[in-house]
């Protein structure tokens, strides 16, 4: 079975074509160029490399968020359009989990996090080779997250490109228990995304239309409107 994987959830970009679990080609880059300009040309390049036509793939996997709102939407829009028009099933995987998968041989807890600005993060905590969920992906203050992590006895490996921004805070709170991975492990890899997607059961192709990103946060205007409704 041939998979196409797409991750554009933060500044890095990764796309891959994997056949029966084996990478045929994978591109990982962090050029800081907008995905709107780079994503489709990179996908085109990937297909040229492997000398395949778009309709030769059997399924598509995409990082569904959280992350940059615009970034997630570009990946999801491309994946959704391809899946619908090529009549292939589409599976979404948490973009936090995709990065965590780079470290799934670690024996302790794996905390994957992205900066959500103003001392907030998107985070998910996993354990073991199969990345069993310990803390669901969510949006919270970095302080609250670290307090929660203190309650576990296991060492915690932090992954994600934004980890360095919070390193001092993490060390202060967790001390020896906090571990940091080497830099290149922080980049999402579409082959890992596909690995995770392969463990899921394939949804029907009719489900593609209802596929939406998982932002883990309301749009600000929406949140304020809901607040107003409650008061109302």
């Amino acid at each position: 079975m041939i998979w196409l994987g797409i991750d554009t959830s933060n500044t890095p970009l990764s796309v891959a074509i994997v056949n029966d679990g084996l990478i045929i080609a994978e591109i990982v880059q962090d050029t800081k160029l907008t995905h709107s300009v780079t994503a489709m040309p990179t996908i085109e390049e990937l297909f040229e490399k492997v000398k395949m036509k778009p309709n030769e793939i059997d399924a598509i996997a995409v990082s569904e968020g959280p992350g940059s709102y615009t970034g997630i939407r570009i990946g999801v829009t491309i994946a959704k359009t391809l899946a619908w028009t090529l009549k292939k099933p589409l599976i979404g995987i948490s973009s936090l989990k995709v990065v965590a998968a780079n470290a799934n041989l670690f024996s302790g807890l794996i905390c994957s996090l992205f900066d959500a600005r103003r001392q907030n993060v998107y985070a998910g905590v996993y354990k073991g080779e199969t990345l069993e969920t310990v803390l669901e992906e969510h949006h919270s203050g970095i302080k609250e997250l670290l307090q929660q992590l203190k309650e576990y006895n296991d060492p915690v490996l932090f992954v994600g490109l934004d980890v360095s921004k919070f390193e001092e805070e993490i060390r202060n709170e967790l001390g020896e228990k906090a571990l940091f991975a080497s830099k290149n492990i922080q980049l999402p890899r579409a082959s890992k995304l596909i690995e995770l997607a392969m463990r899921e059961s394939l949804p029907s192709i009719e489900d593609v239309h209802s596929f939406v990103p998982k932002y883990h946060r309301l749009a600000q205007a929406e949140a304020e409107w809901m607040k107003g409704q409650k008061k109302g």
């Binding site: 907008t34 709107s36 300009v37 780079t38 994503a39 489709m40 040309p41 996908i43 085109e44 778009p54 309709n55 709102y69 615009t70 939407r73 570009i74 999801v76 829009t77 491309i78 959704k80 359009t81 391809l82 619908w84 028009t85 090529l86 593609v208 239309h209 939406v212 990103p213 932002y215 749009a219 600000q220 205007a221 929406e222 409107w225």
Partner: protein, 339 residues
């Protein structure tokens, strides 16, 4: 040169998710618009992040419906046209990336269309264009007088120096406590009143440019002064006074430009061209001038993909092609594509 092609067009520049199939630049084979108006009304205007979220939810469904309504398969198409700008960047990106993915999947060329060129070409769907054409483009984001000497040739001879006409309508509607979008409410109120408040007209000397911010301030001051005296405003009179000022300036300048450039056709385009007061005034003026005047039907005045398909079809014929690195351009200039 005969224009033979079938174009899939996609438009997501603001709060409508739209797709359409256009044959030969003039025939609407299908035209699908999914509006977010119910959602956006809550916020009293279009919130970009909310608009982008809606687009990604609806995009594949809308394109599928356009193909199904047309009873066509992707291999029947010649190209994919999509709004490249101007518009809300996050919203544009959904249409552009969907268009690129679709085009890639089926080996089709992609064409980036200017949103205003689209509004003008809405007329090609109902009327043969005879050049030179003068187009008055009035919408929530635009107030422009565009001269076209041939297909794909655009010369902006006048534009707003501050608010767009539609923007002024929305702002004045807010002053009158009317719901969003304000245009239709003001139009209706204005027709209910027999007399309007006298508001100033911004002529800006001999220029074809427009300005509506002074008028907007005059309305606000008028309301404020009355309130200070403990009097209530009569909304109908304010609406009529405001609309009369906007309509008179737009009509007078359009007539003057039509005379100066000796145009064969005048067309109105954009959401505000659905306004009855403006339509009537322009119709009467150009009847007197003896110059044919056209406004597309309402569903082609507001944002839609059929108009993008019409413009895209002429661009296709002219050999214009985009590529996979096309980006959304919120400030895209109205460039000519003809030689």
């Amino acid at each position: 040169m005969e224009n033979q092609n079938i174009i899939l067009a996609i438009e997501t520049s603001c709060d409508e998710t739209a797709a359409s199939i256009i044959r030969n630049g003039s025939e609407i084979v299908s035209n699908v618009v999914s509006s977010q108006i119910e959602s956006q009304t809550r916020f009293g205007g279009v919130v970009p992040e909310v608009a982008s979220r809606h687009h990604v939810e609806k995009i594949s469904l809308v394109i599928e419906k356009a193909l199904k309504d047309a009873n066509l398969e992707p291999q029947d198409l010649d190209a994919v046209a999509v709004t490249e700008g101007p518009g809300l960047v996050g919203a544009l990106l959904i249409g552009i990336n969907a268009a690129k993915a679709f085009a890639f999947a089926h080996g089709l060329p992609i064409i980036g269309v200017h949103h205003i060129a689209g509004h003008i070409y809405a007329n090609a769907l109902v009327q043969n264009m005879e050049f030179p054409v003068l187009a008055l483009v009035v919408s929530g984001g635009h107030t422009e007088l565009v001269l076209m000497k041939e297909h794909g040739h655009f010369e902006v001879i006048g534009e707003t120096r501050d608010d767009a006409a539609g923007e002024a309508y929305d702002k004045v509607a807010r002053v009158l406590n009317l719901p969003y979008p304000g245009g239709p409410h003001i139009d209706r109120l204005a027709h209910s009143a027999s007399e309007g408040v006298e508001f100033p007209r911004a002529w800006l000397d001999n220029s074809y440019d427009f300005s509506f911010s002074g008028l907007k301030s005059a309305v606000i001051n008028y309301k404020h002064n009355l309130e200070q005296r403990g009097e209530d405003i009569v909304p109908g009179m304010v609406a009529k006074g405001f609309q009369d000022s906007v309509v008179e300036v737009l009509t007078t300048k359009t007539v003057r430009a039509a005379r100066e450039f000796q145009v064969k056709q005048v067309i109105a385009a954009g959401g505000v061209s659905a306004n009855k007061g403006l339509r009537n005034s322009l119709e009467q003026a150009f009847q007197k001038e003896g110059i044919p005047f056209y406004v597309p039907p309402l569903n082609l005045c507001t944002d839609n993909a059929a108009m993008i398909g019409a413009a895209g079809s002429y661009m296709y014929q002219a050999g214009i092609r985009g590529n996979m690195s096309m980006n959304g351009n919120p400030g895209l200039d109205l460039k000519s594509w003809s030689i």
